[in-house]
Amino acid sequence: TLLGVITTDAMVASDVWRKMVQIAVNRSFNQITVDGDTSTNDTVIALASGLSGLTRIVSINSYEAMQLQECLDVVMQGLAKSIAWDGEGATCLIEVSVTGADSETEAAKIARSVASSSLAAVYGRDPNWGRIACAAGYAGIPFHQNKLQVLLGDILLMEAGEPQPFDRAAASNYLRKAGETHGTVEIHISVGDGLGSGQAWGCDLSYDYVKINAEYTT
């Protein structure tokens, strides 16, 4: 279960605040996954006291609203990443960044599909580009597969929809190092020339996850 409480002293009209919070949730908490189980209790409450003295934001299209949205996004993304980083049994955070989609929503959906797939290969330190491409492909978002590019960190694994020669040891070390330091595995995917981009976060699936949840009981 995910719970969150967000606070700000910005002064913002109720309808604007509620839209902003949903936008930020869609760019953060709704983009993380550990095990594919959507809880009965997931909740984020966000409160705005207005005590900063800021003039009340009454339009979501105002410059001030954009500034506050950016702050809200970054706080919720920071918290969301720390949840994925702390996934049960996780040894590393997986950050999937998708560009080139037709919209932010489509890019986010592809990113979350990849982050959600049981990328056990990350735990096995295996640069499994095939699984990454497959998960991007079943996200439900059409794209030209000949435009698919996949990088692991800065190591190019796929270009124009086909695997590229790459230093396997370097790629595997990249994954191993992330696991040893509980760091981040970055997967960069481009699916075309669109302007849509999005991110999602997950973690690797380890034996510990199975052990923790085998013993957990309702």
Partner: protein, 213 residues
Amino acid sequence: VSMTGNESSNYIPKAPIFLPEGPWKQIPGGVTAAEGFKAAGMYGGLRAKGEKPDLALVTCDVDAISAGAFTMNVVAAAPVLYCKKALDVAKTARAVLINAGQANAATGDAGYQDVIECASALAELLQMRPEEVLIESTGVIGHRIKKEALLNSLPKLVASLSSSIEGADSAAVAITTTDLVSKSLAIESQVGGRTVRVGGMAKGSGMIHPNMA
């Protein structure tokens, strides 16, 4: 034995926070960084095992504009149903009470009544309207809140409210379940020429695939 705020806030390590570069500065404080907010976390005897803090409260000195995002799982817990109703009837809220240990999901009408009773008891203590109190619960599905323990803890919880960093940190610990680290952060930025602070805390480690609206 009551734990000091300092002990509560350091019961488990803090998560590393990964923030991108941007027109903001990370500041300490979590949910108490923004003006007008207080928080507290304590052990109320709600957990099945251990004495990690398990009851948290965040309050606002004024009527705060409220918003919420909730699981779209149709097997929704009682606090989720309650909060949705509260946000429907009121645009503002002043308190969020969070318990860890029982999810209060699949607990039927009795579970829902537990939420109303806890919200009302806290509202009375804080001299607010019940619908200004929002509730979050996490823990084992099918278990009702340990209501007596929770209600008995409220006076002490309210008494330990503070706008300090420790208050925020201890609340962030108290909301955790299988988390190995607590999650809390705050930033300060310029909005419309004024200094604005945004902060927050979260928990989550397993059963994570949110789909909130």
